[in-house]
Chain length 478, copies 2
Amino acid sequence: MANEKKLVEAITSMEEDFAQWYTDVVKKAELIDYASVRGCMILRPNGYAIWENIQKVLDAKFKETGVENVYMPLLIPESLLQREKDHVEGFAPEVAWVTQGGLEPLTEKLCIRPTSETLFCDFYSNIIQSHRDLPKVYNQWCSVVRWEKTTRPFLRTMEFLWQEGHTAHATAIEAEERTVQMLNIYADFCENYLAIPMVKGRKTDKEKFAGAHATYTIEALMHDGKALQSGTSHNFGDGFAKAFNIQYTDKENKLQYVHQTSWGLTTRIIGAIIMVHGDNSGLVLPPMIAPTQVMVVPIAQHKEGVLDKAYELKKTLESNFRVKVDDSDKSPGWKFSEQEMRGIPVRIELGPKDIEANQAVIVRRDTREKIIVSFDELEVKLDEILKTMQKEMLERARTHRDAHTYVATNFEEFKDTIQNKPGFVKAMWCGDVACEDKIKEETSATSRCMPFEQEEVAKTCVCCGKPAKSMVYWGKAY
Amino acid sequence: MANEKKLVEAITSMEEDFAQWYTDVVKKAELIDYASVRGCMILRPNGYAIWENIQKVLDAKFKETGVENVYMPLLIPESLLQREKDHVEGFAPEVAWVTQGGLEPLTEKLCIRPTSETLFCDFYSNIIQSHRDLPKVYNQWCSVVRWEKTTRPFLRTMEFLWQEGHTAHATAIEAEERTVQMLNIYADFCENYLAIPMVKGRKTDKEKFAGAHATYTIEALMHDGKALQSGTSHNFGDGFAKAFNIQYTDKENKLQYVHQTSWGLTTRIIGAIIMVHGDNSGLVLPPMIAPTQVMVVPIAQHKEGVLDKAYELKKTLESNFRVKVDDSDKSPGWKFSEQEMRGIPVRIELGPKDIEANQAVIVRRDTREKIIVSFDELEVKLDEILKTMQKEMLERARTHRDAHTYVATNFEEFKDTIQNKPGFVKAMWCGDVACEDKIKEETSATSRCMPFEQEEVAKTCVCCGKPAKSMVYWGKAY
Ligand SMILES: [Zn+2]
Ligand SMILES: [Zn+2]
C-alpha cells in the first residue's frame, strides 16, 4: 500500500506544472532514461516498443507507394556538407565533429549526420544517368545528431531516431506530388493510429527547411495549448541537383536536372502522444499503436484456478490482441496503478468470483469505464471497446484542439489571445517576414503553417494592417 | 545484345580471382556502393532488403526468448569507455572521437560506439536494485564504427549494422545458459534461413572478446576455403559488474554482483551468403531470405495478353511468395542476366506459346534446371521447387565444407595443408598461447574455435608435441 501510494504520488498534476508532469510520465512509465552524455536519452523497452510499432505501420505504408529502404553512412565530410549554401548555414552550427580516427588526427573533419541530404545527393549524382533511372524513392531509418543547448525527452535531444525519405524525379510536378503524398501519409497515420488530428499546411519562408523551395508540415495541438510540429515534407526543386550536379538524359537525349524531395518523422511524435492523450494517472496509449493493448490482472491470484484462467484468456486473446498477464507478486492495486501509468488501453480484472460467474471486468484506461463481460463474448466485446476507445480518443483530441483554436483580426486581440488563451490562433498575414519577426518578438508565437484549407477571417494582416495574402496558424510551439 | 554481354563480362570468374569476383558481385548486384568517406559503404535497396529480412526473422526469434529492444546513445564519454581495463585496451585504438559539438570544443571527448557494453553497464547499474529486476534481456539494432585500416564491403567496414544483445542475470549458470542459447539461435538461423552450415565452438583466450570470460562463435567456410566468423556470444561473468558496480539484493537481502552476456550478428553475414552460394553469374540467394523469390519474365511482352498474364500470375502468387514482374523495356536475355546477377532464386519465363499451352517455365537460379509447369499447378510446384532449392543449397554448402575440412597430426602436415588445401584444419592443441602465436606466424592460420563436438584426432599438440587439451578448428580467415 505504501508502494502503491509512492507510484501515484510521484506524478505532478498537469494542471500544476505541465512540464514537470511530462517529465514525470516519461520517467515513471519507463519510456526513457538519461544517459551519461548530456542531452542523450536511452529509449527503454516501453518507449522503444512504441517506436517499433510506428516503424512497422509507416514502413508498410511507404512501401505501398514504391519506397525502398537503404542505409547511408553516419559520417559526412566537411566539404560535402558545404556543397549547398543554405543547407550548410542551417546545419553547420549544430553538428558534432569527428576529428580523430583511431590514434590519428583526421586530415578532413567529419560530421555526424544531422540529416542526410548531402549524402543522398552525392549518391544520386553517381547512380542517376538516364530517365530510365528515375524516379529514385529511397528512405532510411536511422539516428541523427544535433548539438542542442537545451533538451527535453523526445521533443529535443542531441540524438534522435527518425526516418528520412529522399527522392529524385524527372519533373517538378512529380516532385511536388510526392512531397504532398508523403505529408498526407503522415497526417493519415497520426489521425488513424495515434488519434492525433493534424493541421496540414505550408511553412512560411522563414520557417522552411534549409535549402528547400517549399516545406509542408503537420501541426498538432498539445493538451497545454502549445503546438508541436509533427512531421515535415520538403520540395527541393532542382536546387540540390544543381549544387551536386545530379543530371539525367531525357527521352530526347537532353541533359536535365532532377527534382528532389525529402520527408521525415521522428521519435518526437512520441512526445505528442504523451501530451495529447496523457492524464494525471500517466500515459494513455491509443489501442492501434499500444505495444500491449490488454493487461490481464488476476485478483487473489494465489487462489486455485485464477492464474490458470488468466493464462487461458491470454491464449484465447493473443491471436487478435497484444495481451499480457501481470502475474508478478505485486498487489492488484499496484498493478492497476502501473498499467495506468504505462497507458495500456484496457485491463481485464479477473478474480475467483468472476470466474465462478463466467465473466471478467474490462476497464478502459481513458474513461475508467468498467464493463462486465461474459467469457463467451470477451473477444467480440474487447474488439468493440478498443475500437470505440480509439475513435473517442481522436474525437476528444479534435474537440480539445477546436476549442483551443481562436481567431484574431487585429494585433491587440492577437496579443491578448496568445497571452491568455493557450492554443492555435488563426489570423491573416501580409506575407512579409517583418510581421512574422515582430509577432515572434512581441508574443513569442511563431507561424505554424499556412493551412491547405484557407479561410478569409479578415481582409488585412493581423500585424501591419496591409492587405492579407494568407491565413496562418500561429502559436507557441515546442 | 551488346549490353547483355557487358553485364555478364563485367564479372571476374571466381577461379581466376576470388577477391575481385566478390567485389564485382557486390557492385553488379547493386548491394553496395562506396560513399565519400573512405571505408564507408552505402547499403543499396538490394543489399538493405536482405538485412531487413535477416532482422525480421532474428528479431522474432529473439523476442520468443524474452528479449526486449531498446536504443542506447551513439556517443560514449572517454571516462566511461575506460571503466573496464581489458575492454578499453581492446577498443580504444580503433574508435572515432568527437572533439567538437556545434561551434565549441568539448571538455571531454566522446567516442562513437564501437560496441555498447559500457553504456549498457552504466544503465544497468542505475536500474537494477533487487533480484526482482532480473534478468534484463535487452537488445538493440544499430550501427557501430570501428576505425579500420583496410576495408572490404560487408566483411570489414568503418561502419556496419548489427544487433547487440546485452543481458544481466542473477546467477552464473543463467548467464552461461543465455550465452549458449543465443549462439544456438544464430547457428539455427544460418542453417535454416541462409543455408550455411556452422561449426559451433568456443574461442581460445587469445581470440576472445575484450573483457569476456568466454566467447562462443559460429564459423562458416567460404567457397575459397577461408573461414568467416559469423556471430559471437560472450559470457562476461561478473567482470563488468564489478567494474561498473552492478549489484542487486538477493532473496536473503545480500548484495550480489550480476552476471552478464552479450551477443551480436552483423551485416558481415551478407558477405557469407555471397561467398558460400555465389557463382560466376553472380549472387545466389537462399529462398528463405531472398527479398524477391520469384521474378516473372514475360517473353515477347509487346504481344497481346502476355503482360496481362504476367500480372495475373503475380497476383495469384503474391499471397504466398515474394514475387515481381520485370516489365521493363529490356530484352528477355538482359532480364535473365540481371535476375541471375541479383541471385533471385527462380524466374518464371512466360511467352505467347506458353500461355497458349497453359504453362510456364520455371528456372532455378542455382542449378539452371528448367521445369515446365501447368498454370494450375504453379503454386504447388513453386513451393516445392523453392523448398528443394533451399534444402539443396544447404547440402551443397555442407558437402563443400566437409570436403574442405582436413586433419593434421603433426606440424609439417599442418603447414602443408594450410598452404595447399584451403579449408578448415582440425588439429590438437596443448592450450598454450605460444603454439597459437607460432602457428599464426608461420602459416597465417588462426584458431577459429574449440568446437563443442570434440574429437581426439591425435594425442599431442600439432605444434609442440606436448599432451593435447583440445581439438581446434584452424584456418585462414576473413
Ligand atoms: Zn503584415
Ligand atoms: Zn602446443
